[in-house]
Assembly symmetry: C3
Homo-oligomer: 436 residues x 3
């Protein structure tokens, strides 16, 4: 776990480049909360990791919601009276409001105008808009285009369909020694937007590969699904299972140039919150913010009826960069380096979650003889080594109420060293591990 070296490496790495290429391949696909785009996306991820795909039928009641009808779109355009496609879904899928209902009509500019959305402050960018639960349609265009639009008769076509089908999500479960679970959720529903959220799909995929290669105490569950309705559906299907979730992490927006930001769970001081704060602020230049109920799928995991220990890792958070939810969130907005650093941070988090545990000193009255067990210097009188300090700290604090991270912070010693000391003491029969 040599995380400090990470920040130094600024060049493109193999893994950074591989994630960037994966995003390039996924970028053109028109994803939504249901439909073929999601399935095509998951099929591409499945080349790297053995995802299990689940389909949940439209109409299924999930808490206060229903799984919606499935949306598919073949084409969409606006033609002027000369028959030119002046807005063309095939050039950029952001042009159509996601879940637009079908329409095929001629209309005046005045009639068309309420269906056009733009960004006056960023006149060259196309906004990303959705209308999942409204019987409506619309187009998103650059503001510069909108301003130049002449009084004409336009042919408007959205060749879409909304009918019963299913909502698709994918899972990969990597069993560990313990059934206690780490959930990693990444949303799959955004169309041609790179940072939000192809970046996280790529990072989660390579993180799953990396976790799969290592021995694990904890069980890992990677979930890929649409935002909001996806996590609501998953939670509804797994309501009796959620007690197993020991830690959870929403991954999103991990490719931009900003520093890492961890948003704490609603609990605010869950183990996952403490571990991630320790890892990203010490070694990855990150910072932490308190929970708020606006964001991604942490909203559902942290709703008061669940209140699960689930936080969120991003670089620049949603809504805090102008390119957010616009066509400017493109391949230029993200970098292989940022993706690589995000992956390294996620790996370091998993390592720290694995290391952290509570122990019980089995010889709790006075210190046990460490020298007799080969754990202490032969000739005494000098200051102890760092490792000897770590042994003393772990023995002294292991009353079953504190985890190793708390001992690391109190002692000022590194978590890795503290964990090595705990392991040595466990092997010497002086320490017993508390159950997960």
């Amino acid at each position: 776990m040599t995380t400090t070296a990470v920040e130094a490496s600024a060049g493109t790495t193999d893994r950074g480049a591989r994630m960037y290429e994966l995003i390039k391949e996924l970028y053109p696909i028109c994803r939504s909360i249901t439909g073929r785009g999601v399935r095509d996306t998951l099929a591409i991820l499945k080349r790297s990791i053995p995802l299990a795909i689940a389909e949940v039928p439209s109409g299924k009641a999930v808490f206060d919601w229903q799984v919606p009808d499935e949306w598919s779109i073949r084409d969409a355009y606006i033609k002027n009276s000369s028959g030119e496609r002046i807005v063309d879904f095939k050039k950029c899928n952001l042009h159509v409001i996601n879940y637009s209902r079908p329409v095929r009509r001629h209309m005046t500019l005045a009639e068309l105008r309420p269906h056009l959305h733009s960004l006056p402050d960023n006149p060259d960018w196309i906004p990303y808009r959705t209308a999942y639960y409204r019987d409506t349609w619309g187009f998103c265009v650059t503001h510069r285009f909108l301003e130049r639009l002449a009084d004409d008769t336009y042919e408007v076509c959205v060749d879409s369909e909304l009918k019963p089908g299913s909502l698709t999500f994918a899972e990969l479960i990597l069993p560990g020694q313990s059934p206690a679970e780490v959930v990693v959720y990444s949303h799959t529903c955004h169309p041609s937007l790179c940072n939000d959220n192809l970046s996280a799909l790529a990072v989660a995929t390579l993180l799953a590969e990396s976790v799969a290669r290592r021995p694990r105490r904890l069980t890992y569950r990677f979930i890929f699904g649409p935002t909001t309705i996806g996590s609501i559906t998953w939670l509804a299907l797994h309501e009796s299972h959620v007690d197993r979730i020991r830690h959870g992490l929403i991954l999103a927006s991990l490719g931009d140039r900003g520093g890492l930001v961890y948003k704490r769970s609603r609990r605010g001081n869950a183990e996952v919150d403490r571990v991630i704060e320790y890892v990203i602020t010490r070694s990855h230049g990150g910072r932490c913010v308190d929970f708020s109920p606006y964001g991604y799928d942490e909203r559902q995991f942290c709703s008061p009826g669940f209140n699960l220990p689930v936080g969120r890792l991003t670089r620049t958070p949603n809504g805090q960069y102008p390119e957010y939810h616009t066509s400017a969130d493109n391949l230029d907005f993200i970098s292989p380096q940022a993706l690589e650093r995000s992956l390294q941070a996620c790996e370091a988090i998993c390592v720290a979650l694995e290391l952290n545990a509570r122990f019980l000193n089995l010889s709790p009255k006075c210190e046990p003889r460490l020298g007799a067990r080969g754990l202490y210097q032969n000739i005494t009188g000098r200051n102890p080594s760092e490792f000897e300090h770590a042994l003393l700290w772990v023995l002294n604090q292991s009353d079953g109420t504190q985890d190793l991270l708390q001992v690391a912070i109190k002692s000022g010693l590194d978590l890795t060293l503290i964990a090595q000391a705990a392991q040595a003491l466990e092997e010497a029969g002086l320490l017993g591990r508390c159950s997960d």
Copy 2:
């Protein structure tokens, strides 16, 4: 609740002028902890609000105390050998130590001297002194007068009487939907002193008028009584009732030029403490100080056997301005503007106490559909509005353990907006109000 505008209005308002006139009328009356002065004062307040007057007979045991005999005074003076009234109660009732026992004697300066009290540091002011529970008498004079007093034979007269009677207090109860009570206590026992405490009598009277005009969730009980023995008597008579006291506020010294100071209850973090801190520090330029057992009637409400959530609102606290308990606490020391601002702060506090409540999210697992209930934007993808943020915050935090003020502080959104969101969610059937 546009409280920010308050600070801007520096001119005399109608209500400020009305309170000032009321104080002018009350100023000459010689009040004490019992007797006619209090009754006359309450009769004047009763013109504005329908006070119920209670008389508690002398000798009644109230905890460690007894209701004292009633004191009345007709006249008091010191005459020199030329027969001139050189000290005259009729000119200023502060001249006589309150509760002075009757005396009529000729005496030398040496005999008289121990009975004269002055303020060497403020030689032109007459101190206010009391001797409720001592069989003694005395006069208060300016230090300049005292220094010039010649060796002479003086005729000393205190034409007072101390005999069984009663202690008088007044109440106004304004019932709300809930029996949970807000107690507002103002002491009535100080003679010709304006800030301490005619200012609070005036503010409490107009506050009662204003509360009476508005719909109320909470029940309000305004109490006007003498300090110390008054609240001790009230608590002794209402011992079985105190569980209903949800919030309490002692009002005193609300007319001087100093900023508002809220003194927290002994609990330190009661709802009333948090609400008043929020209101006065955000919008009324006030500040808060911790509880201490020196002051006014909060001493009794916050004695350890009661420990009620009762704080105190003043401008400059007792003992922290030189005019305190002297003849300089006169009509020049207070202003209609300060009175008006104090009243506005009190009103804002009551509004906030009314707004604040705990709620339970009735759809606590995942977020409920807000769009389907007309509470969320149709086309999504943009950042939510402030009101939408407020809805999310209230839903997420409403687990029955936190009140709206805590949600407001956590979210950084205004309490009024948070309360509006709670109301909208309650009307939509998504939120249930916890009982008071």
Copy 3:
């Protein structure tokens, strides 16, 4: 308890000089964790205080340890081929590793070299090293000596013996009104080292004299024993007794020029921690640090199976000065003034522990009549005196949950004044003392 005067007195006092002379007498003795050096040391202390000596036989099981065999040493030296004693135990007992096993051999420099220990960074000092539980021997020398050592045949002699005997400790119990105990532990095992720990032996001895002279509420138990194995042995023998330990203090290194440092107990906020922080930071220029499991016998008292309220008072802590555990910790390194100030701080701590208590207001509903009991000014209206404030604070806060120190800190009044107020109220029947 006029502790503020202490800091001003910089000259040598009688008590400072007496402690310094005691240390001078003890300095040459070769102490260890067992053996004659300890017995001789305790015999000298016994001239001042009536210590009870205990001998615990070798081999006795004490938790994870056994009482070791007793070590005695008559002589030790290294002679060169000319027969000169170039290293001589009789000149400095630090020359021999404490608990060195007997050896008598001729050997080359190459054979001898691994048995020689020095301090390259402080080439003129002899280190202090121990090997209590290893079958080994060795010499400690200055680095300058080591570097000059020629290739020669050396005669090496350690004329020591290790055989069953006993471990010696001493106790002085000073009974108080209450069986609740203050334990004061000082370690006796270090040979010719002045600060660590002859300084604490001297301070503890004079502290015991001083405590013995004063009336006591608490019982005091002064323990003099070897470090680590000594406190382990004491705790093993007194396991059923430790519930009586209300406060504990390890004394060590109290003669150097550094300021006082109190190391908190593992609990961190025990009464002893709060009291000592109050005393030494307010009046003795001291500071506090959090518990850590490296140090002296607090390690055993604060092991998780005991977790007793035992802190540690030193001047510069162990390992934080270069002279630590070297021949430079000699009579020049300590001063009578520092010893005297350490003693005064210890006395002030005991006084504060005696004063501190929890009380119950026996008249808890509203304030009781203080004037009627002669505890309040006759003529009221003025600000109360400090003592009157103290009375109000003690009455208001005495709900049985807070001790006088907490009232002192909250009120900003001195603990002594608060304790005087509590005593006056107790005498007036208004306050009841909570049991220890």
